[in-house]
């Protein structure tokens, strides 16, 4: 069981790197979707074999929403925005991956410092969660396209969810559903906003928002 959890966590870290290094928008969306599925799997594995109905249903719904629904929304936004499908980051891909490596080091160091009161099944849990959060922040800060900022937000939520499973937080069902609903509606609203942005600006580069419009509408 510990091996399985370790493998899932290693995959989670790899998805973080993939998010930083991908140049195609579609690839990034799939990576974040895969993260959501991995997290659902992690939540089920962390139950230590005692599977209850809610214990399985909640991670399953999380995996479905984050792995299927949200990517579908984002793909629709991407298509309707008719945007250039390539990410144009502010700090090239090599530098992003190096920043990701630095983030990994920081996450491992922090994982050593922050001792959880109850020993987690794998020593990689807290570092993996923190790493995903740090890469999410790197993505939000260093990407121009509005869609990638949404992906960064999703990755941040994923990392916090991962941390939640790491500390084996037993939140009431209602709250978990509330958080999931928040994320879903949040991405939904952001998707609509992106659609409006693409219609208004004819691109979704947040860098170029402040440029003066060159013709009256």
């Amino acid at each position: 069981m510990s091996q399985l959890i370790n493998s899932v966590l290693v995959l989670l870290v790899l998805t973080g790197f993939m998010l930083l290094g991908s140049s195609r928008l579609a690839a990034c969306i799939r990576v974040v979707a895969f993260q959501g599925v991995l997290l659902g799997l992690l939540a089920i594995l962390m139950q230590h074999g005692e599977l209850t109905v809610t214990g399985v249903l909640l991670p399953l719904s999380t995996a479905v929403v984050k792995g299927l629904l949200l990517p579908w929304l984002l793909f629709r936004a991407m298509r309707e925005a008719e945007t250039v499908r390539e990410i144009e980051p502010l700090i090239g891909y090599n530098l992003s991956i190096i920043a990701g490596s630095a983030a990994l080091v920081i996450a491992l160091w922090l994982g050593q410092r922050l001792r959880l009161p109850t020993e987690p099944p794998s020593s990689l849990l807290v570092p993996a969660a923190l790493f995903t959060g740090l890469t999410a922040m790197i993505v939000i800060v260093s990407r121009r396209k509005a869609l990638t900022q949404v992906l960064g937000y999703l990755a941040l939520e994923n990392s916090i969810y991962a941390f939640g499973t790491a500390i084996a937080l037993r939140l009431p069902v209602l709250v978990e559903l509330g958080i999931l609903l928040d994320v879903f509606v949040g991405v939904f609203v952001m998707g609509i906003a992106i659609f409006h942005i693409s219609r208004e600006f004819e691109h979704i580069d947040t860098d170029k928002f402040a440029a003066p419009t060159n013709q009256p509408r």
Partner: protein, 488 residues
């Protein structure tokens, strides 16, 4: 009863999306607001029972903020009905760049307004911190469409910034809540949980490093939503591009709800004996916010942005008050009320000015007193009120905070506080005077033809602010003291 407080606006909001007739919808808005206010006032007389296993309950602080939100919403919705009627009848050409834009569907605006109220009420009555988080995130999502009422690129940019920055900030606050849960967990697995009453009782059992990290994250996360510097960057854009109805609610009610999140954390911190640590952080961010606001208000030519930065300043004052502790907390809680009422009034009046003068530039407006006497007078008096002049409400609360600072021996803090307030007074008074006096400048829409409600509502708010400046009713004082007691 508490459930009704949340459900009435929520259901009304959902229904409003589907109602076709404008008149019925506006009627729905007003009736929902009235019902909500009646219920809120009723909670002062008859204490409501906790609902949902004590997740929803009213404590003094929550009740105060909830009633304030409700009253403010009632006033704003009365104004909104007249505002929406005016918006219908005018062509929409942008004042700054001249292009034609359209407005959003009025149904979605009204619906989002009501859902916004429901979410804010949920924030005020939540006793479970994770539910509080869900509610605050819901307020972000409900209020974003409100900012995008006027459909053009500037408001879209403002909406996007608002959505993204606040969502990211609130995500960090979620991490803070998880850290808090860890802080309350023993090695054997039993945990204090996330209910406020449990946390208050067992605060001294909390793991200190984890709690400190949790507090920092909650402060950063909810501080982003509240408008503390340096996380305030979404605020000027959002509050100035939104229609004045939305700005009034954002500044007057939403910032308070975000502040409530921080206040809950502060309650726990005080109960855990870490008031020094959290107080110092609040003080730093508060003074920083005030300083940043002062810098950006000086020389500001857009009067709505000026009001937005003033909100940043006042949030800073609130943080300073709570950070100082003791008597300053009373002043801070009183200031919540004063600031909300005054800022809402100012934003509504600004909406009037904008509609008549068709410009957001302070230099473009002159002679407001002669063109629109009520609004002009309210604008002048309101700006004096918000900068802390007697005999208005904010003066009392700001003075209380100042006095507490001096009593505690924090003379440096008091001096910086006073200096910044003085700078802001000078920076805001000059344009205000120029705007109301002098020969009337060009205005397109004759002011007399506009609906009376557009003037009456801000006037009512102004009268309340004035009254609070000279007389604080004992009921209120008692409530404030109860609320402040929890915060040290």
């Amino acid at each position: 009863m508490i459930k009704l407080l949340v459900l009435i606006p929520a259901c009304a909001g959902i229904v409003a999306f589907f109602v076709g007739s404008d008149r019925i919808r506006r009627g729905l808005l007003i009736s929902a607001a009235v019902a909500h206010t009646v219920l809120s006032l009723a909670t002062w007389v008859v204490a409501p029972e906790p609902a949902m296993g004590a997740w929803l309950a009213e404590d003094p602080l929550g009740r105060l903020i909830e009633t304030l939100t409700s009253l403010l919403f009632l006033a704003v919705s009365l104004y909104a009905v007249a505002y929406l009627r005016e918006e219908r009848s005018q062509p929409h050409s942008d004042f700054e760049e001249g292009f034609i834009f359209s407005n959003a569907r009025e149904a979605s605006f009204t619906g989002c307004l009501l859902l916004f109220l429901a979410a804010m009420t949920l924030v005020a009555v939540s006793q479970q911190l994770a539910l509080l988080w869900v509610a605050i995130e819901a307020t972000t999502l409900a209020s974003a469409p409100l900012i995008y009422f006027h459909r053009h690129h500037r408001s879209l940019e403002a909406t996007w910034k608002y959505l993204l920055i606040c969502s990211v900030g609130i995500a960090l606050a979620l991490l803070g809540i998880f850290f808090l849960a860890v802080a309350g967990t023993d090695p054997d697995g039993s945990s204090i949980g996330l209910m406020m009453q449990d946390l208050r009782l067992n605060a001294h059992h909390l793991n200190v490093p984890w709690f400190k990290a949790a507090f920092v994250l909650l402060l950063v996360g909810y501080g982003t939503k509240m408008g503390l510097a340096p996380f305030h960057v979404w605020l000027p854009d959002a509050h100035s591009e939104a229609p004045s109805v939305a700005s009034a609610l954002l500044s007057g009610a939403l910032l308070n709800c975000a502040f409530l999140g921080i206040l809950r954390a502060q309650e726990i911190s005080v109960a855990a004996g870490l008031a020094d640590f959290s107080g110092r952080l609040l003080l730093i961010f508060g003074l920083l916010s005030m300083a940043v606001a002062a810098v950006f208000i000086s020389g500001q030519t857009d009067y709505k942005r000026m009001l937005a930065y003033s909100s940043v300043e006042h949030m800073g004052i609130l943080a300073v008050g709570v950070g100082l502790g003791g008597a300053a907390v009373f002043g801070a809680v009183l200031h919540v009320i004063n600031h909300s009422l005054t800022k809402a009034m100012l934003f509504l009046v600004a909406g009037n000015l904008l509609a008549v003068y068709r410009t957001k530039n302070t230099g473009g407006i002159a002679g407001a007193l002669s063109v629109m006497p009520v609004s002009g007078a309210l604008w002048l008096l309101g700006l004096f009120a918000i900068t802390g002049s007697p005999p208005f409400g904010p003066f009392l609360s700001e003075f209380t905070i100042l006095k507490a600072a001096l009593d505690q021996g924090q003379t440096l803090v008091a001096l910086v506080y006073l200096a910044i307030l003085a700078v802001i007074l000078a920076a805001m008074a000059a344009p205000a005077l120029a705007m109301v006096q002098g020969m009337p400048s060009e205005h397109v829409v004759p002011a007399r033809s506009r609906s009376a409600a557009l003037n009456v509502v801000p006037a009512m708010l102004g009268i309340v602010v004035f009254v609070l400046g000279v007389y604080v009713p004992p009921v209120l004082t008692r409530a404030l003291r109860q609320a402040a007691h929890l915060l040290g």
